[in-house]
């Protein structure tokens, strides 16, 4: 399988490099404004902007063609001006969409998602009509339109060089976005996390909002030449969401987003060349050799996110499960130590009909399997020993640890009784839950706060720490 993958990849040509490079730059240029959208919880605004770019582009195209037909510019100038018109049109319509959404939301007292949904679908529908009404007539020469536009865009090299045009355009946008992020880092951060504070500090939070919308619209328009309008949303949002699974530090998140974006693009193209053939040749369709790179980029980014979602060191599902399991193990062990200590303390006959671990498991609703694992780890850590009779008893080390737990438990009970006026029979449950988390420092503070009590509210003595 892996061999087949690399065998298929061995056909990688300079064209593939051009495609992957264009795609990577496109994804990187999207990742920066996208990260701010995610942080501001405006991700669906990216959706709206990429849809609403349509009428902007059509208008730009109409204006450029109209100017040429009117004889104001030559067709060479038209091509040169078109890119500028495209950006201008997209910014105009993008900011217009953002403004209209806000206006409808405020005036109609609607929820933001609803006003967004009304505005961007209407704008997109308008674009669809415009395209059918006019542009279709002007240029029906669509024979050259291939499946994934990125493959063709990468062929469009800058005259005299072998650098694909998208590399230049998207690279320029990436540099611009990077520059703006560095320049307005403080303002963007403040406006994203605390717009009220930003405003009171004299930073125009609304201005930042619309500026971000304008930049996003521009980035989207530069990007759709390579990936298409709907997949742009993925490039905007997925890398930053993935980065957020790894870190809380803004700088790290921004850096990671850009890196993940580039990785999704390159890996996406590599998978385009390999995955469809590997799957469909087995299904009996040997003619299928690849799929559209744009679509696969989005899918790859999604797969990277799923990997992060599952395996990220701190926030990933696996790491959370491990953490929860460890905690369960610790609590089971603590409960066992506590019970052994209390049995010793009472010098009463220990229960004979049921083993101590079983009793702890039953009382606290702990899984028996977790309990036995916990007993094993306590034995290994020399906290408890197993007598010849099979009974468990505390070692000196275990006794110290148990003493600290029981001490925490009873100090907390005393504290609760003093400050919360709870009935006596309500104290145990909370103390039982909290005892695992009260370390020596808190124990000392509780002790001095309570003026070194010797008994808890139930009349049981609070054990002293041995070193005091």
């Amino acid at each position: 399988m892996i061999q087949e993958f690399f065998h298929l990849l061995s056909g990688w040509s300079s064209l593939d490099t051009a495609i992957a490079g264009s795609a990577a730059l496109t994804a990187m240029s999207c990742a920066l404004p996208g990260a701010w959208l995610v942080l501001r919880k405006h991700s669906m605004m990216g959706d709206a902007l990429s849809h609403s770019a349509l009428p902007g582009v059509v208008l730009a195209f109409l204006v450029a063609v109209g100017m040429r037909q009117a004889g104001w510019i030559s067709s060479g100038q038209q091509d040169a001006l078109l890119q500028m018109f495209l950006f201008a049109g997209a910014v105009l319509v993008g900011v217009g969409t953002a403004w209209l959404t806000e206006w409808v939301q405020r005036l109609g007292r609607l929820e933001s998602g609803a006003s967004l949904g009304v505005v961007f679908t209407a704008v997109f529908a308008l674009g669809l009509l415009l395209i059918r009404l006019d542009v279709d007539d002007v240029h029906i020469d669509v024979d050259c339109v291939l499946f994934g536009i990125i493959e063709m865009a990468a062929l469009d090299t800058i005259p005299g060089t072998s650098i694909p045009e998208p590399v230049l355009v998207n690279g320029a946008i990436f540099v611009l976005n990077l520059l703006l992020t560095v320049l307005f880092y403080k303002e963007l951060t403040l406006a994203a996390f605390d717009p009220a504070l930003a405003t009171s500090l004299g930073i125009p939070a609304r201005g930042i909002h619309y500026g971000l919308m304008a930049i996003t619209a521009m980035t989207v328009v530069a990007a759709f030449t390579t990936v298409g309008s709907i997949l742009v949303i993925g490039l905007l949002i997925i890398p930053s969401a993935t980065a957020l699974m790894f870190s809380e530090r803004l700088m790290v998140v921004l850096g990671l987003s850009v890196g993940i974006a580039a990785l999704s693009a390159v890996l996406g193209h590599a998978l385009t060349l390999t995955l469809p053939r590997m799957i469909f040749s087995r299904l009996g369709y040997p003619t299928i050799e690849d799929a559209g790179t744009a679509g696969m980029m989005s899918v790859t980014a999604g797969m990277l996110f799923v990997i992060a979602l599952v395996f990220a060191p701190k926030h990933g599902i696996v790491s959370k499960l491990i953490h929860r399991f460890r905690l369960g193990l610790k609590i089971a062990g603590d409960d066992l130590l506590g019970l052994l200590f209390r049995i010793e303390e009472q010098t009463a006959a220990r229960p004979t009909d049921v083993s101590v671990p079983d009793l702890v498991a039953k009382q606290n609703g702990i899984n028996r399997w977790v309990m036995s694992l916990s007993v094993r780890s306590l034995l290994r850590g020399d906290f408890i020993t197993r007598q010849a009779s099979g009974e468990l008893s505390l070692t000196d080390r275990g006794r110290e640890s148990a003493k600290s737990l029981v001490r925490a438990h009873r100090l907390w009970e005393a504290y609760m009784a003093k400050h919360f006026e709870l009935p006596d029979d309500h104290l145990h449950e909370t103390a039982h839950r909290v005892e695992h988390f009260i370390d020596d420092a808190i124990q000392d503070r509780l002790q001095s706060e309570l003026k070194s009590p010797s008994k808890d509210p139930h009349g049981k003595s609070i054990p002293r720490r041995s070193d005091t």
């Binding site: 339109v145 709907i230 997925i238 559209g292 980014a301 996110f305």
Partner: protein, 518 residues
């Protein structure tokens, strides 16, 4: 460059990666689809004019088009069997989507429809591949495609919920991610679909922007069936869904199966989205879920009426959108339906009787008018109070006293022109009468009203001092804000609490000359 731009435009339409190599070929095959479907329906309905599948196709094929009026009468009289079919189909889809969308809007999950719509794309491709693989030539069997779309639409909605619940990623990012990944998968699969040997996939891309033009009777009967089931379910569970939308916690606390209700609602939304895609396409289908209820919201506060209104708006936009697109060539039905809906939304936003902008503005104006009157009369009362020797002026003194605008203007933070306007309004309301240049006098009702207003104001001040322990120097401002909304019941309560039953106006607890409250 120019050709690239055209390509780019098509990409923007969402069809970039799906555009066949040769558009003419696609057209031919598209027509082929229609003709084959027509022959089916014309077998069953021999009165259909042969060669003219339906009005939409006529517009595209005829070079000499009949006059607008004759076309309009032709569409509206429903003379063509296929016009009836298409109109019936889109209208039913519009009504159903509007009704189900109401719950999503109130649940603040309006954009989920967008995710469902985009997520359905790979489902269509996979269903096609599976059916084509099982038995070549059956790839475009509609119920099968719908089932595939339904499965992936549902998967999209569930993915959003799972990411929202089990990760630190917020719902908005989860939606954007899900829809682009699923859509990306769909785009990749569609390029593959088009390379399957013998697989004529040309008709499939109509799912992107709607396939109103090629709806046939069988499709419509399928929609009618599905729509009926959805509507019956929505009506049966109206009460439960309403509780879910307004207070999820309450519903859970009351023992309602919130999870299953949520599942039901998502199921309804996915169904409506998938079926609704047939009329406007999967990119715009979210509009049919959001625009109707958002428009209806401006007309009513009653959820039952809102649901009806949403159905009405949805049906109307689909009906008129289809009619308009049938009248003019090159008008994509999906886009026109959405724009018709958006126009209805704009009208509702402006003229809605409950929350419309104009009604709101009128209410604001009325409120300003009331506040102005209250301020004016209290200022008059306090002016007279200062002028007469008694602590509290009598009714006769109030009426007899000549009020000069020059004196009145120093009572509050207002300027002379505002004051003149207020006085003019009061004259029209019969509260004041003109006695000289800038001299005015309170009428019988005016004097009575002024006493009442001053009394309310001072009762509230006394209440604030006694119960809220606010300093006498601070109560005037608070009372100034509240006096406009004190109703008789509250006044009675104040009288009782303050043990102040007699009709008399209490003496002010602070200096009233030129009080600066504004």
């Amino acid at each position: 460059m120019a050709t690239r731009v055209v390509g780019v435009l098509l990409v923007l339409m969402g069809v970039g990666s799906l555009v066949p190599r040769n558009v003419e070929a696609a057209r031919r095959s598209g027509v082929g689809v229609r003709v084959s479907s027509i022959s089916l329906s014309s077998l069953r309905h021999p009165n259909v004019e042969t060669g003219h599948p339906h009005i939409l196709a006529i517009q595209q094929n005829n070079t000499v088009s009949p006059s607008l009026v004759s076309r309009l009468s032709r569409v509206l009289s429903l003379r063509d069997y296929n016009t009836r079919v298409v109109l019936l189909g889109t209208t039913i889809l519009g009504i159903t989507a509007g009704i189900v969308g109401t719950f999503m809007l109130l649940r603040k999950r309006a954009l989920v429809g967008d995710v469902v719509g985009h997520s359905a794309l790979p489902g269509i491709a996979i269903a096609f591949l599976v059916m084509e693989g099982l038995s070549p030539g059956t790839g475009k069997w509609l119920p099968g495609l719908l089932l595939g779309a339904f499965a992936f639409g549902l998967a999209g909605a569930v993915t959003v919920m799972l990411i929202d619940k089990f990760s630190r990623i917020k719902a908005d990012a989860a939606m954007a991610m899900t829809l682009s990944v699923f859509y990306g998968l769909g785009a990749a699969l569609f390029t593959i679909v088009q390379r399957v040997p013998g697989g004529n996939a040309a008709g499939l891309k109509t799912y992107l922007n709607g396939k109103t033009a090629s709806l046939v009777a069988d499709d419509v009967w399928l929609f009618v069936g599905i729509a009926t089931v959805v509507l019956v379910l929505a009506m049966l569970f109206m009460k439960e869904l309403t509780i879910l939308c307004f207070d999820e916690q309450f519903a859970a606390a009351e023992g309602w199966p919130v999870f299953w209700l949520d599942t039901l609602l998502i199921g309804l939304v996915v169904t409506v989205t998938i079926v609704g895609m047939q009329s406007v396409g999967l990119i715009l289908v979210v509009a049919t879920l959001i625009i109707p209820p958002a428009s209806a919201r401006f007309w009513t506060d009653d959820i039952r009426l809102m649901t009806l209104g949403a159905g009405l708006v949805g049906g109307m936009s689909s009906f008129f959108g289809t009619v308009i697109s049938a009248l003019f060539p090159r008008m994509a039905a999906g886009a026109v339906i959405v724009l018709t809906g958006a126009s209805l939304f704009a009208l509702s936003l402006l003229f809605g009787s409950k929350r419309g902008v104009l009604v709101h503005a009128w209410q604001q104006r009325k409120l300003r008018h009331d506040v102005g009157r209250v301020d004016l009369l209290r200022a008059c009362f306090e002016l007279v109070e200062h002028a007469v020797s008694d602590p509290i002026p009598t009714h006769e003194e109030m009426m007899d006293h000549e009020i000069l605008l020059g004196d009145l203007v120093s009572m509050r933070a207002w300027d002379l022109s505002t004051l003149r306007r207020l006085v003019a309004v009061a004259e029209k309301d019969g509260l004041m009468q003109h006695t000289g240049d800038d001299n005015w006098r309170l009428t019988e009702t005016g004097a009575e009203e002024a006493r009442r207003i001053a009394r309310n104001h001072r009762l509230w001040e006394m209440y604030l001092m006694q119960y809220a322990h606010i300093a006498p120097s601070h109560v005037d401002r608070d009372a100034d804000l509240i006096e406009h909304v004190l109703d008789p019941e509250l006044i009675a309560e104040l009288e009782y609490q303050l043990d102040h039953p007699e009709e008399a106006v209490p003496v002010s607890s602070h200096a009233t000359t030129g009080s600066s409250s504004g």
